[in-house]
Amino acid sequence: MNNGSGPQPTDAAAPLGPAEPFVFTGSASEYYRIWIVNLMLTVVTLGIYSAWAKVRRLRYFYGNTLLQGHGFDYHADPVRILIGRLIVVGTLMVVNILSQTSPVFLLLIVPWLVALPWFINQSLAFNAQMTSYRNLRFGFQGAYFAGLGAFVLMPLLAIISAGLLAPFSSGFRANYLGSHTRFGTAWFDTDAPLGRLYANLGATMFFLIVLAVLVFGGLMLESRLVTGGSRDDRVAIFILLGVISFYISYFLVFYAYRAGVRNIVFNTTTLDGGHRLSSTLSRRRYVWIMISNALMVLGTLGLLWPVASVRHWRYLAQSTHFHPAGPLDGFLGRESQKSSVAAAEYLDLGGFDFGL
């Protein structure tokens, strides 16, 4: 129900096509004004309003994301978010100051790594519980050791192997996330096949090679063309350009890889055994949107951030489909388990990204 058009027919009468699109009905111009008011109130209140701003932002994005005409919703209590944020900021300040007093405190990274899976599980549980569709909450039931594998050990393995085991790590994590998430009492299940994840790595490598040739060629051309200025200046400019293009290339490759993983993961995710999800991100288009968004935001010193944000969200929504095996009005809910708002806010403030 949208645009005040009044009640719609019951679900039983709704046509059940093979693929239901996720539709985003928000607009950049509308979100822009919400964002700027959020930002102003956050700054005026020295950050306290940031908790309310977060809830308002997520309600806007979730609420405007529709499946079969029904929007999603975000329900977190801003006061709890604020408390979580205060705990996180206070702890970070203490740790930061302690680490200035003695390098011994850098060893805190060990207990931090041990606790990280717990943090992530709690955070996922909190965020899932605060998300609803058709008045039913989502849920996430983590497991410590699987989480340790998915978020600490496997990523380490991927790094040590110089990316060769990255598909293994991505698949393990996606399967963990998918298979521990539920909608009401119905469980999702993800089974991303390793072969396709490796094919995705291969495609990314091809992309990387093309990119490397372009960057290298561009730099060579630059060193030929630029002849003015002192030799030191020319070397400095060359190195600067090299570093910047390396950095941007890193992100291009990262996004190209991630787009492929998302498609594979969504395409192998089911809900309650029969309903299916699908994702049709185009690698090139996704990379273009992410990079041009970043340049747009940086170039305007953040002023176009809401536009970039809506553009990204809309592309993700329109590239995602739901394939119902039957009507969606038979799902049942259940009581939520305990979860930690502080863990959720820690990962949120730290910019932790699950990549989905």
């Binding site: 949208n2 009044g6 509308e30 956050t42 700054v43 005026v44 007093t101 970043a294 009005d329 403030l349």
Partner: protein, 354 residues
């Protein structure tokens, strides 16, 4: 009042068309054309936001979704007015533009004045025990990784120690100072101040100096860092800056996040230059009041820069201002304090003081 919407039972994904009406006895709900068995107890109404439908939640966990413009605002006895104001602001480009201007101004003021002030206040109320711990920790680290024990003769260090004690005699009421001598190893001629009042000077710096005033000027500069708690302020400013970045940047994505962090690092260099300026000024003041040459340490700096083939220009990437800028600033400060280069009164004043 009579509103049409979609009704969801508690814990079920089934939606049904419904009507909510209010009569003299309260609210009544008509679901699928049938009267709901009990009168609904309204618990909350979602705030207005864009064109999103409003959601009325009831005590039993059921929910009624109504269009954005449905007249439901008077239904709860106490509905928060605040978000109605926020929604009203959000609805107009004029107010949004005003909010944008206010935000930018406030961010600029916070960044330029608020952050340094807050960092200073935080540094002032930090208990001495913390700066003591930082002092010990840093000393431990630099001794392990950078410095070697001093190789200067006892006589020389005793001489400098005595001069330093004389220089800081009027200052020790508020802060204890400890002077340590170390072989600078790969960092060469240098002096550092630790937050608890420990000042380390390297053999190489002392060997490079041509007069006591040059050494004392550098030490007075380090005293300035300690007095004004620059290391603590630096820590707090960096923390405040990252908080500001998180607040203003929000969930801006990895690439933007990284770029902003790089800008923040550049900013900490600027902060560092600001602290160096302040310490230079303090050095000049201490030296002038002790009747010594307040510019001598700049000569020493010049010699260090020449030796290290460093730049005397201030750039965005310098932690210290360029030597040329420092000399000009120190001279201006000294002149403002009534010091002049070749005044004969200087020496006599010094003689009188001793």
């Amino acid at each position: 009042m009579d509103v049409a919407g979609l009704f969801f039972d508690a814990q079920r994904s089934l939606s049904r068309p419904a009507r909510l009406a209010r009569d003299a006895e309260g609210l009544s709900l008509l679901v699928d054309g049938e009267e709901h068995p009990r009168r609904p107890q309204l618990r909350g109404i979602s705030e207005k936001l864009g064109r999103l439908p409003r959601k009325l939640s009831f005590a039993d966990g059921s929910l009624l979704e109504v269009p954005a413009d449905a007249p439901v605002d008077g239904l709860l006895p106490r509905q928060d007015r605040f978000f109605a104001v926020a929604h009203w602001l959000e609805a107009s480009w004029k107010y949004a533009a005003a909010a944008g201007v206010i935000t930018i101004l406030l961010l600029a003021v916070t960044y330029r004045y608020g952050l340094p002030l807050a960092a200073r206040a935080a540094a002032d109320i930090t208990p001495p025990a913390i700066s003591g711990m930082m002092n010990e920790g840093t000393l431990d680290t630099v001794d392990r990784f950078i410095f070697e024990p001093s190789k200067l003769p006892e006589q020389r260090t005793a001489h400098i120690r005595a001069l330093f004690a004389g220089l800081t005699a009027p200052l020790v009421e508020t802060q204890d100072y400890e002077l340590l001598f170390r072989d600078g190893g790969r960092i060469g001629p240098n002096a550092i101040a630790l937050p608890g009042g420990t000042i380390i000077i390297t053999d190489q710096l002392i060997e490079l100096a041509r007069s006591d005033d040059e050494i004392l000027g550098v030490l007075a500069h380090e005293v300035g860092h300690v007095e004004q708690r620059h290391s603590l302020q630096q820590v707090y400013r960096a923390l405040g800056l990252s908080a500001l970045v998180v607040l203003a940047g929000g969930d801006s994505g990895q690439l933007v996040h990284d770029a902003v962090n790089q800008a923040a690092v550049l900013q900490t260099f600027a902060y560092s230059r600001e602290f160096e300026d302040a310490a230079d000024k303090r050095s000049v003041a201490i030296m002038v009041s002790d009747g010594r040459n307040p510019l001598a340490f700049i000569d020493l700096l010049d010699r260090i820069t020449a030796g290290a083939s460093g730049s005397d220009q201030t750039t965005m990437l310098s932690t210290h201002p360029g030597a040329a800028d420092r000399r000009a600033a120190a001279e201006a400060e000294a002149r403002a304090l009534g010091w002049c280069k070749d005044c004969p009164t200087d020496e006599s004043k010094k003689g009188g003081a001793q």
